[in-house]
Symmetry: C2
Subunit: 230 residues, 2 copies
Amino acid sequence: MEQNQNIRIAVDAVVFGYKEKQIYILLIKQKFGPFQGKWALPGGFVKDGEGLQDAVLRELKEETGVRTNYLEQLYTFGDQVNRDPRGQVISVAHLGLVNPSKFTLEADTDAETAQWFLLDDIPELAYDHLDILNTGIRRLQSKLHYQPVGFDLLDKEFPFSDLEALYQSILQKKIDRRNFRKKILSFGILHETDKIHQTGSGRPGKLFTFNETKYKELVEQGIHFEIKFA
Amino acid sequence: MEQNQNIRIAVDAVVFGYKEKQIYILLIKQKFGPFQGKWALPGGFVKDGEGLQDAVLRELKEETGVRTNYLEQLYTFGDQVNRDPRGQVISVAHLGLVNPSKFTLEADTDAETAQWFLLDDIPELAYDHLDILNTGIRRLQSKLHYQPVGFDLLDKEFPFSDLEALYQSILQKKIDRRNFRKKILSFGILHETDKIHQTGSGRPGKLFTFNETKYKELVEQGIHFEIKFA
DNA sequence: ACAAAAGTGTTAGACCTACACCCATGG
DNA sequence: CCATGGGTGTAGGTCTAACACTTTTGT
């Protein structure tokens, strides 16, 4: 009953960031270990006395310099006993959302570099991190259907087209602009400021902010967002 | 980097069963440990070289005699470092669905007894198992909205009213019979046999079976089931 | 005046909700 | 014939899908 286990527990993070109208994912290049030089998700072993979420936040900060407000548990990988060549390791994967413009990437400890990658430009990954990443992508895609998404990814003030591009980038399909706008506005999570987005070309758009109270309320309550591609 | 951890990993199972038109949950009475004599979810430590899901299935069989086809990962409890008085233990909770009529409960190893409990008759539970149980209930309730449920809980042939009672029992509210039937039949997961349910009183109902192919297809694809209480 | 991006409304169809009476069987 | 539970249809309202032109700005 009190026999010792020879299993170790780690955490990993699938962190999404949105910039330049596209979704990126945060990866690090490993400095040590069996996959030295390979790209991987940020993560590492949990320390004694440390909670799971704390471990993720610590590793993220150490390996990439990023801090995230939004972090949820994704899935625990431990059915495959040999997923780590160093021995049996169970990894509790988390999903994070971040606005990349708030941070400069800085690799500290186990990581040589940290870098944002476009989803269709992912390098070969260490361990089973591709599985974890795919689980994260699927989760993010389904989140859109039952929770508002965007608060943690966009700037405080943003043009409506940013939100639209965000949804299209996550779902990887085109959305009808008129229907999308109607639907989102009907949730009442946006507040239209009187500022105007200064851009290079084309008609400038009004800037919006999230109504944080209403937004968080709908994150709790759940929404039903269903929209066909145009 | 290769420092040893003093954290152990366990699994627990929230197993639902349906009988006599109501949802039950499977609990065991602990034979040993800090909560000796208390009721708890079936579960225990993962063995070296064992996968998570295998560990759940093993513990379930050892402690209750139940085997389940349907088992999904629920959530990993490890943010609270002191959830187990024996030391830091992270528990990967799973959710199982079972037809209780297929098993007689038999407690083998760590359990004194195993027993089915009605949801509104849950005894005091060991550890943070009430949190885990509530997470399981919420998950099962939301599953109804995006996946068909019933295949693993009902008999092979069942009257339509069983399915209806199952949904009502899980959602804890009354459902309009006509609308429910219309909705479920429109999914095409049911096959009407020409057999008749032999019951005590009242008009006998036709027996149905699940169209397993279609059912599993919709489990993958997802459905959208939304129904107001009557 | 042209290029680029923002902004805007209506209609048809699908789906959801509300609602009450008759039917088949056993005792 | 009564009690019990099974079986059935329709109309109103709401939500979604489809669809294209005009407006504002910079160059």
